[in-house]
Amino acid sequence: MQAIKRKKQKETIIEGFFLICAFVAVISVLAITVFVFFNGLKPFISNSYSLWDFLTGVEWRPGSNMFGIFYMIVGSIFATLGAILIGVPVAIFTAVYISELAGSRIGKMIRFAVELLAGIPSVLYGVFGLGIIVPYVLKISPMAQGESLLATILVLAIMILPTVVSISETSISAVPKEYREGSYALGASKIQTIFKVVLPAARSGIMTGVILGIGRAIGETMAVMLVCGNPIAGIPTSLFDQIRPLTTNIALEMGYASGVHQELLYSTGVVLFIFIMIINLAVNKLVKAKVGS
């Protein structure tokens, strides 16, 4: 009896240990959230700067106490949207090719190439952007300016490719063989099988890939900083306008900002944070809703 009791005890201790490990993720999120929200909301609570001016202002001039980030929010949204519109379809179709159409040897090669693309640090995308994309945009831009929303979209689209491809591909190839056989047996073609059975069945994995892709696009800082122009005002009205996404605003000035200026950079972080929360919630609900019916 004694041995069994001790074994039982050992099990619960280790289960507790596992719980703590899982909980570390929660603790770190809470710590970061509290830290960012606390510092981010301080200026508005002690109303040394009005939240309304902060969220709707279109000029960022710390020197003359003007802190408007509306034009940055618009910039971030346009850049991420553009990157998703270009990057996600290309990524999902590539994932379909790798797991469904490619022979096992070619599939393996492309999978390796995509994992390589995932390994390339975002800084090198920035350097590539600076070296190739910016001069190219310079040529075709009416503003004779390489740094632009278009350059940012292209860099971000390339960057989210590997994330979306590798995660989507894993979940597509995890769809059971029986579904494909069932579909073929009913006289469906290969393409119909892929788009009517396999992709819907792999939806949750693909959706995860898209979430991470969006997260990476909205959160990218270093690569974007080299190609976006970082103007101090101006809502982008054309692809060739410059933008200052929320992330670069933080990275550019966090090192040296102090006092209200630093706190309002934390507030920029809060806005970014809320974006991510919204995206995660929206997509979680989407994934649960589809599977349930």
Binding site: E59, G63, E147, M225, P231, Q242, Y256
Partner: protein, 279 residues
């Protein structure tokens, strides 16, 4: 866990711990000053404009005092000031005067003067601009090169991030304080401004004189050539001091020794050698 899986994980752990122990083998960063050998880790940081001079002075200092370790991170003047006050840097550097609220308990010393060159792309035909023209360009009142004797092309204005000392000095001296035009491109650091101007025929930017090389063209301001001599004899209108600063209560002897070396004749020779103007 199956045997082979456990083996991999265990070997990963052992390998890692051995490496980290080796990592922190050598002594921690204790600072001690015996009469002849100065030792300890000096981690400076701040303005990117001073990087060339400070790095050269640092390597000469460590040559003379092999026990001392010297590093400098170029993160911008205001960061240097913040780091010096918070003590995350042994000493901070700034390429502009300190604002009153930044002074706090910092002791400052000017170790050099530096001209700020207005740089254009070598392909640009313009060779001279008045201070007023530069101000109008940066405020967005002049937008085409043909208004200042150049080709018919839009002017692409490149400026520095808000914490840059160089930007603060230029805005002050040229006279467009806080009136920079909205769609100016902001680049972080002298090098970054330089590559942008080098890469765009219609761009105009400003960098520390110590950074000017063959990739960009420094133009005359108010028809005065941007040279070290013209800055020394004060005819060149845009120049500013290089400040080093530290907090009395937090500074260590090794840093003080380095700053004394910087102000010594040998230190000032290094300043001259790297395009700065000795004090």
């Amino acid at each position: 866990m199956s045997k082979s899986f456990k083996k991999v994980l265990v070997s990963l752990l052992i390998g890692a711990t051995v490496l980290t122990l080796a990592g922190c083998g050598s002594s921690g960063s204790t600072t001690s000053t015996t009469k002849e050998a100065i030792s300890g880790e000096i981690n400076g940081g701040g303005s990117t404009s001073v990087q060339k001079i400070i790095d050269a002075a640092g390597s000469e200092f460590t040559a003379l005092n092999p026990e001392a370790k010297f590093t400098y991170s170029g993160t911008g003047s205001s960061d240097g000031i913040k780091g010096a006050t918070a003590g995350t840097y042994s000493f901070g550097c700034a390429s502009r005067e300190l604002k009153t609220e930044e002074k706090g308990s910092l002791t400052e010393l000017i170790f050099a003067y530096d001209g700020i060159a207005v740089v254009l792309n070598p392909a640009n035909t313009v060779t001279n601009l008045t201070k007023d023209q530069v101000a109008k360009i940066y405020m967005g009142e002049i937008t085409n090169w043909n208004e200042v004797g150049g080709a018919d092309a839009p002017i692409v204005v490149v400026s520095r991030e808000d914490g840059s000392g160089t930007r603060d000095a230029v805005e002050e001296l040229v006279g467009f304080k806080e009136k920079l035009k909205a769609d100016a491109t902001i680049k972080e650091g002298n090098g970054n401004v330089q590559t942008t101007v080098a890469g765009n025929t219609n761009a105009i930017g400003y960098v520390s004189l110590t950074f000017v090389d063959k990739t960009v063209k420094a133009i005359d301001v108010d028809s005065v050539k941007a040279t070290v001599d013209n800055v020394k004899n004060k005819t060149y209108p845009i120049s500013r001091p290089f400040l080093a600063m530290y907090d009395e209560s937090k500074v260590d002897d090794a840093t003080l020794a380095f700053l004394d070396f910087l102000m010594s004749t040998e230190g000032q020779a290094i300043v001259e050698e790297h395009g700065g103007i000795a004090v």
